[in-house]
Symmetry: D2
Subunit: 330 residues, 4 copies
């Protein structure tokens, strides 16, 4: 459903073209200083405007509706609301008959019996990642000095990302990409067998992010081609430091104290200006679809800060669970 986490628990809500999107953070320790200014940087990183991202102006102003008192978290659930503005719903009327290829239009209509909000993907929209980023801002404070750093390392099959994006824009097409996340200063011992391995929880939240189609930890799919003698990371220090890091900092689902490394595959944006063939499900006829409106050429450009937020949310939960954080009230 729309909640995740055992101690640090987030509940997300909102639709692309509804009144607002937002998130409730439950289980946040009391006494953490928090102001709306502290959301600006990550909101900016996620925001539209740069080449390859949608020109829709999102004026994302976080409103703290509960959980903060005198500038600090107060131990009660923390609610962040972001009003939706600059919405042009008329763009989406056609979706009712012509589900857009690659989008959730068809499945949402089927699942919710025709009652789903079809405008801009509704609750399935990438717009909801704003809320995820908001929770990430809080999570990052909690896990400090653990640091999550994600970046786009490849787009359209190349590391020359700028050129790839420009070419795709010219073609009225879109491209996918690969985002790598590295997490430093992780203590040994995060992750809960059997079902709540670190990989399990990280992948769980990562696949909530729209457009993600793969994840690999450490050497990942390359591991499948390796020999044990190559893949095994030799321990070289009594604190668990290893010489190599093919495991991506995780053994048996538990952090081993080395850098956590994972990569995610982001598919190309489904909405493209180029004409595509698809079905009108009311008439049963194939038609030519040209999607107007504002769309990202390479949605992967905006994914890194969302991946960081997602990872930080999971780590905050594990840190609180493992009592590695001293609650301020103790």
């Amino acid at each position: 459903m729309n909640s995740l986490g055992r101690i640090f628990r987030v509940t997300i809500f909102g639709e692309s073209h509804g009144p607002a999107v937002g998130i409730i953070v439950d289980g946040c320790p009391a006494g953490i200083p928090l102001t709306t200014e502290q959301f600006v940087e990550d909101f900016m990183r996620r925001k539209s405007g740069s080449p390859g991202t949608t020109p829709r102006k999102e004026e994302d102003i976080p409103e703290i509706k509960s959980g903060v008192f005198n500038g600090s978290t107060n131990g009660a659930p923390l609610t962040i609301l972001v009003q939706n503005k600059n919405i042009r719903s008329s763009d989406y009327e056609a979706v009712k008959e012509i589900p857009r290829p690659g989008h959730a239009d068809f499945v949402a209509s089927e699942k919710y019996g025709g009652f789903a909000d079809y405008r801009g993907g509704g609750h399935f929209s990438g717009r909801l990642t704003t809320a995820l980023v908001a929770a990430g801002v809080i999570a990052k404070k909690i896990i400090y000095p653990i640091h999550c750093n994600a970046k786009l390392i490849e787009a359209g099959g190349t590391t020359d990302i700028e050129t790839a994006v420009k070419k795709a824009m010219d073609d009225k097409n879109s491209i996918g990409g690969i985002v790598e996340c590295r997490i430093n200063n992780v203590p040994v011992g995060l992750g809960e067998p059997f079902f709540d391995s670190l990989e399990s929880l990280l992948s769980h939240i990562i696949f909530s992010i729209p457009a993600i189609k793969g994840i690999e930890f450490g050497s990942g799919f390359s591991s499948a081609k390796m020999k044990g003698s190559e893949h095994n990371d030799k321990i070289i220090s009594i604190n668990g430091q290893t010489e190599t890091n093919h495991s991506g900092g995780i053994n048996g689902g538990i952090s081993n104290g080395n850098e956590i490394i994972f990569r995610v595959a982001v598919k190309p944006t489904s909405s493209i200006a180029k004409e595509q063939k698809t079905l009108n499900i009311k008439t049963g006829k194939m038609i030519d679809l040209k999607i107007d409106g504002r769309h990202d050429t390479c949605i992967a450009l905006r994914v890194p800060v969302v991946v960081e937020a997602a990872a930080a949310i999971v780590l905050a939960d594990f840190m609180l669970l493992e009592q590695k954080i001293k609650r301020i009230n103790n």
Copy 2:
């Protein structure tokens, strides 16, 4: 923790060299015929014996301790217990000082303050997948006519798997592999936004399986190199059938009625007969480690039936949640 699922909920227990491993299946509808014979086939597929798998004879006999009455599930939690036999614990005394590279020995010792059962990986052992397979047998009955079919499609970087395994055995080394799972007859609508996408739940349980280091859905990591015009699956029928299946049967985290396809990367078995360098954490000295005992050359050979079980468990939960199954009592 050691439970997963909202309606069809499994709780796993046991250690490699403890008295038993087992699983409780809660939320299983009443009225499903179940006998211990029905576990034999999947237990055999998982079992050791074939080339490349450990020669440890596991006589896995499922004992139904609760939840079945007069040959059918009775609506109460169903407990399957499998006694551990043929255990040689003396093999593992050295682990206390010399955590094996690639294994959970080091992290388990740290996490549980020296109290973890270090014999054969304890609760981290692949032995627990017996319990997962047992729950899978029940889940497969529930999701019928949905069918999960997993197979090893590559090992050691080649499709000539038999040769690759033989060569690795001769080298006293191990190899990884890639397992592909295809799921047919899936209705439209499984998966729960925002956090419980089908990919989220499938990856969550899949990464519980020891040795898995990556997962991708549909075109997965290849998607990252594709254009939107290539990747978008054209809908060609009003029931949602698509011409291609780059999405792997999932849009917006929801099943779209096409075949679900995913692949997982299995790392090479960590235990190898070949000598490796590693640290004695008591003395702080690097030593030469030669792991005796019984080990799989290619653990990936045994993974397909475990992947099927894991997938079936998640699907059973979604099917019950979506009310696609008529409970027998209705």
Copy 3:
């Protein structure tokens, strides 16, 4: 924490003197007509104004922030926000040093290390029951034709409630009361052993309501004085109808198709205008405390609609779980 329910899942937030209180309802089926007008009646029942309730004017206007599209629920999480108005925070500064007897001031301060919002009880305030009532409005629609009917049957030890309240007001004191809830048209079979009995879940949510100190089902505490031959409800019809209803419509934690009956004990309002002795925890000196401000003489007067909402929320969850409701999309 601040969430409850497995299918129909509510998450509550807000503080008495913060910007807003509200609730997210997750798992609500799509296709239920919903307008803000439909909250008015239950909000009015809960509202202040009648004799014995606080004169604070609460202009409770529900704002639907997500989950409704074109006048119907859309399957996404439904957010109801109620802005706080007419707040006089200055009344509460003294609480920091002098925790009010009977209130959560002392425990909140201890638990949250001094960071709790102490104004008007903060997150512990009865103000949050507005949000509960809002969720109840939706739940009541889902469980129809099940009907919950709660009323105050005793206050200050008498059934002449009006007189009892008037007398307490004159005394600058407060009184408690007993609220009885009767639930009709309940199907057989709601409740999930072992831990989620109908009594377990109903009592769980009921004790979330501030000021509740006891609950009993059917004959309740009187049962303890009865003989088995008296207490056993004779079944007189093949649909499970019983001659008497000492069990309160529940056997083995499961609804038996008869009327569900329970009673709750509401303690007297803790805030009283009458002078009381208590401790200044900063100085360690006993002082005379006179609580000014606006307070209920008999909070029990406002409890019935909250109890109904709480019961409806639990029943909605059980009805969806038991698939007794046909989702509109099926």
Copy 4:
């Protein structure tokens, strides 16, 4: 369902006349010494044999199937299994047609479509409290020096319990009773608003125990007859000690450091040797039912140790959640 708890999480299984009953304790810290001998005392207190309890000899021998290594908990899920012995299933064949008044026979048959194990109440049997007591033994170790002490304070409406029981036996009838539980050495701050108040969680688990029909905290139902000036507990020390304890040690759902006190109402045993009228649901005819077999005259006699276990389980979860316990591995 059959699991409860967030950190210290128990999962119960078994039927009265099935192979076994048992419980899995997940989230138990590593390093707690545990032997099967330590279950004897509480098992004896719960056991049958004394006047007023069923003469069925239950040889309850706990078998630890997982989670203990070298005499201490190892951090993995702990499984306690108790085999069922001395079972005479033939006693229960009639139940299929004649659901026993006061029992779950009717609702279980309806809920599980005729597949429920009807022998001795199946999964609804008081037999399962053996498993609860087992988990309680572990919980009591964790919460030390918190101490739970429950006792029967009234039966059949009198404190002369011995006489009341004897009289009921002579009458071939049964009687109910009231059990009071007092919990000492509780730190301030246990309980999690909004929905997980201490009363909410305690009542949740208490109502899982068969035959419980009411619970009250502190002055409970008497509070409803009191004035605020009487009920408010005056704080007299900076550590929160109060002069009176009408609140039962709980304010705002949070422990206030004083003794926690609650009472539960236990209904009279439903099975009585005395003849009762009831319905044969197959023939639709009223018949005279005489229940043979072995039954408790006053089940309340066996409830205190079960109530203690239930309370300890909830407190263990809160203590671990609040980090009041230092995990041994920290």
